[in-house]
Amino acid sequence: MTPISVLKFTDPTGLYEFDASLGGDSSDGSVDRETRNKRINFRKGLQRAKDNVAKLKTTKGEKSTAYQKAKAAVDAYGEEGDKGVTVGVVGDNQQKTPGHTTGTKGNLQVTFKDSFLSQANGLGENKDIPGEMQGLIIHEGYHAATNAAKGYQIEHDAYLVQALVLEAQNPFNSYLDINNGSERVYIWDRSWNAVDIDANRENTIKRILEVEYPELKPTSGVKKR
């Protein structure tokens, strides 16, 4: 693996805050129950992601690319309560993807679909809500860490950190439905043999990108700024 510089990622000690859709800086006691539950879901999901990133430090190594990227993704959120990345919720019909990261360096907003953050529809095969939510939370965290830049490799790595925290939580399977819901791919499958994990994960990510982001694949020889 190629070592990476953490300097590539900004706001490594950034702090997130809830936007108005999640009650802003009001205390939990001042917001309605529904909003409070969404806040709690997010906090638990982020905490689970942080716990699993800490495991990666041991399993993959502190200097590994995998750990550094995952750490940058959770660090982009930082701790709750101060200005930095804002976290919000939007109606399901107001955002195409379950999670979305928007903005520019220093002014980033991560939003989740209401059904995701409220867990009204439930997710996946497991009833462990934070366990299910952590994947998307860290995925969008990676986009925040890379300043909402768009690109094939960035999207690849966002899925990579998503898969890595799920792997760290083993045993736990997690899938995504792609191709307008016609195809299910496992981003982490506990039945994978240890020697095949990297290759299987990579195949899954490549398949997701191939189906969902075909326009993002760069040609060789054209360097992005």
């Binding site: 919000g88 939007v90 109606g91 019909n93 107001q94 955002q95 195409k96 993807t97 379950p98 999670g99 979305h100 990261t101 928007t102 903005g103 520019t104 907003q109 939003t111 995925h139 969008e140 986009h143 300043n147 909402a148 830049a149 768009k150 690109g151 960035i154 999207e155 982001y213 075909p214 326009e215 993002l216 694949k217 760069p218 040609t219 020889g221 054209v222 360097k223 992005k224 700024r225």
Partner: protein
Amino acid sequence: MKNLTFVCAILFVLLTLADTDLGQSRSLLIDSTRPSVFISFDKAGLLPPLFEGESGDRYWLKLHNNTAVKLFVCKFDVPKRYGDYGIETEVVEEFGRSAGIAHPRGYLPTDVCGIQSIDPGSSVSFSVPQAQLGPGLMIRVQFYYAWTDNWRKDTKEGTWTYVLFGNSDLPSIERSKSSQRP
């Protein structure tokens, strides 16, 4: 006579108000003869394909903000020779026309949007593969005005608006070339 004076006074007030409204509308536009937001053709040319599956034939376009307020679009970084930025596009069929064949989807929005502002009266240059503007096709570019203060609502009831540019908007020579392409 009193009634006539009263009617004239009412008419005067209404006409004054109407003129004020019109004046305010006009003042929102920097060039009152152009649309508030529009795309213009710049040039055609050849560069190595930016993404897999593209050809090297490209059109360079300009997205103009002809209003007195800032606009925002989703951008991605590209080498300068491809334009100031890459701009997200969605390829759709032109009204009343059919491409008749499979066509590219465009530089579609994903789960990430790097916001780029466009100042009042300014424009940004971007380029797209010529296939995105083949016969019967147009691109639409999402943007929002600064006054909406809402950059996350990108579908349905959201506050995004679109600006369109189609094959019909190309110079006739380019339109003619595009119709001869396989």
